[in-house]
Amino acid sequence: MHILMYNWRAFSNDYLLNNLRELGGNVDVWSDPDILEPTERAIEKLKTKLKNNYDLVVSFNYFRGVATACEQTNIPYAAWTQDAPLWSLYDDTIRSKNNYFFCFDSEQYKHLKEKNIKNVFYLPLGVDVERLEKKTVNITADKRSKYVADISFVGSLYKDTAMFDDIVAKLSEYSKGYLYAICNMQLKVPEIRFSEIEISKEVMRELQRKVSFEGEGYIEVKLKKLFENIVDRKVTAIERNMMVEICRKYQNFKIYTNSSLDEALNKYNQGIVDYYTDMPLVFNQSKININLSARPIHYGIPLRVLDIIASNGFVLTNAQPDLFLYFEEGKSIATFQCIEELEDKIDYYMDHETERINIRNEGKAIVKSIFDYKTQIKTIFECVGI
């Protein structure tokens, strides 16, 4: 099987590549950044490349430049989403008959299906269990002491809420109150999907009048969706901040982030850690790894959760809906409903080591049998029909 993989800044590209090859794929990598725009030239270059008998083009996420090239050369394009929302999915090129969408988020999957796109599938992300297992065996004493922790969190704190703050500053007191209530409801009742929150006509009109929204340039996205994303990111920032405040009370708390922290919190920050070499060790050496899914991802299982479990780490995560399609609360996954529950859950799992280990092991067995890269890739091949 001759496969072209378009690589652009996704986590886990190397794992996907290795696994495609291990399944017998003859895989070439394409990384032309001009595909992003896309320039005419970039599309032509890719089309020329595709004249070399390719059976399939694969990428994480979706690139309309790739889709155009594939349509014009009649080669199937498997786009496996890793992000939500994915602004590129709001483009007309999604209707090309050569596209095969694999959505990691079940809401994203539903939205695409509602648009009557032909080949849309729900496919959670994959993880290279074997490789991660190898990395977490024989850890040096040095690395052990570097990464050992009671609680760890790896990720951004979404500190850049300038978009939200700037918008709010321009609005009337009524609209301010309205928006703060929305953020507050999102924080306290996370099972509300954003589409259930009403933005009154009055507030919408004021937003349209006073704020210029920058979408992704060429793509027309509904104002509400853009705004929804800004609020989601603000709520993520508030929530992750609250999480840091809760976790700092514990003895050995480590955070790995390139976000700026208040001076008092700096001592917990270990800086960023390499995704391939050291992140698995962080997960493996922590008693509890916290996952707070970024709010823009409404349903999907984030890659972070799978990486933690596959590294033989214990994850305590927000109750992301798609998790429950595969995992059972208290048996193979430990979750909390909202940030107010986090502290009690941490205390509980710190005190119940056996249970923690059991959940970790059960979760690992599930990840190994369902989320392994080879399983996911085979599903892609089956759906594309190659």
């Binding site: 009524y174 301010k176 109150g177 928006l179 409801m185 009154s200």
Partner: protein
């Protein structure tokens, strides 16, 4: 005879009275609704019946005056609460050992248990199935009540129920804040968004919206009362929408004594008498709509049970407890939103046989599990443990 004497406050029908009699109680019927009589009248009533040796007083909903009077006279006070939230439960008097309080909404039950009320129990509402069954058997159809779709209910735009509209000054920030909650809560059932209101905002509300409580109420009473007021505002918006949409599309019969001038196309048939008319309305309509107040978090509202026990086909919003006891599309049908409601109406107006089967099944189940006599015997079991 079980040698027990009980004083009953006025209820919707004689069903509760009959049920106690069947269990061997000597029943005295006060002619008044116990929660509506004043303090003085309450004490007089209790003192009178104390002399006659009454062991229990029973009322629908909870009267703090009655609880005090019973407590002082060492009489057991049984209260079966059919409202949620019921603000009187935040009175100190709710804590008396002489109380037996039965709550129809499970979420509400948990809230009060968490407040340390040990004498609260969970018990869904019961309806006078025997009476309704008899009425329908005597008069299977009454022409003037026949309709494709009926809705019997309050539109919450009358004086007594539109308290939120009467709030004449709120700082704009707070108005926007509460409006966000009101408009969002319209789309969400099962979660109480009013409880997300932040501490600062509650203080502002308490400052600008004054609610009279009187003495002897604990923390939480204001929030419960405000929850009712805001839920009623939401119900007002929802029900006005519902009436307009249904009236525009279908042969729609509305029974309410509320003002319908918000949509001049709507004609109300006025108030429906609970006993004399309601059973024929539900039985005579192809589809009956129930839309539950948002403040009722999990419980099965009286209206839904009324409809089914009268052989009516029930089309209702989702309530967790309805889903626990009844099977969707077998005993009744859930709708998700107005669009879905209309789709289901279209479908079930076209499918007579299926619709009748569902109505029949719902009726059987309601008569079996939600009759007043069954629920009263459960109360009897508990108070005699």
């Amino acid at each position: 005879m079980n040698n027990k004497k009980i004083l009953l406050g006025k209820c919707y029908t004689d069903g509760i009275s009959n049920a106690f009699k069947e269990l061997g109680y000597t029943v005295n019927n006060a002619d008044k609704e116990i929660t509506r009589i004043n303090d003085e009248e309450t004490w007089k009533l209790v003192e009178k019946y104390k002399i006659e040796g009454v062991d229990y007083v029973f009322s629908l909903n909870f009267s703090k005056d009655m609880a005090k009077a019973c407590n002082a006279n060492k009489i057991i006070y049984i209260s079966w609460v059919w409202d949620s939230p019921h603000v009187n439960l935040w009175s100190e008097a709710a804590r008396y050992e002489t109380n037996f309080i039965f709550l129809f909404d499970y979420a509400q039950y948990q809230i009060h248990k968490n407040r340390g009320l040990n004498n609260v129990y969970y018990l869904p509402i019961g309806v006078d199935c025997g009476l309704f069954k008899q009425m329908i058997a005597d008069k299977p159809s009454v022409k003037r009540y026949e309709a494709d779709i009926s809705f019997v209910g309050n539109l919450y735009n009358d004086d007594e129920h539109s308290l939120w509209d009467k709030v004449n000054y709120l700082p704009q920030y707070l108005k926007g804040y509460i409006d966000a909650i009101i408009y969002t809560q319209k789309n969400v059932w099962g979660s109480n968004l009013i409880s997300t209101i932040g501490y600062g905002e509650w203080q502002l509300l308490k400052k600008y919206v004054n609610l009279e409580f009187g003495d002897g109420y604990e923390d939480g009473a204001y929030e419960a009362a405000m929850s009712n007021i805001i839920s009623q505002k939401i119900a007002q918006l929802e029900r006005m929408d519902l009436c307009s949409i249904l009236n525009n599309k279908y042969d729609f019969s509305l029974y309410t004594d509320c003002d319908t001038s918000f949509d001049e196309r709507i004609k109300t048939r006025g108030h429906a008498d609970y006993v004399k008319e309601m059973p024929y309305i539900f039985n005579g309509s192809k589809i009956n709509i129930n839309i539950t107040l948002k403040s009722i978090l999990t419980g099965i509202p009286l209206r839904a049970l009324d409809i089914m026990s009268c052989g009516g086909f029930l089309l209702t919003n989702y309530q967790i407890e309805i889903a626990e006891y009844f099977e969707n599309e077998k005993d009744m049908v859930f709708y998700e939103d107005m669009g879905d409601m209309c789709e289901k109406i279209d479908y079930y107006l076209e499918h007579d046989e299926e619709r009748k089967r569902i109505a029949f099944a719902g009726c059987e189940k309601t008569r079996k599990f939600f009759s007043i006599s069954r629920q009263i015997s459960l109360i009897n079991d508990i108070i005699n443990t």
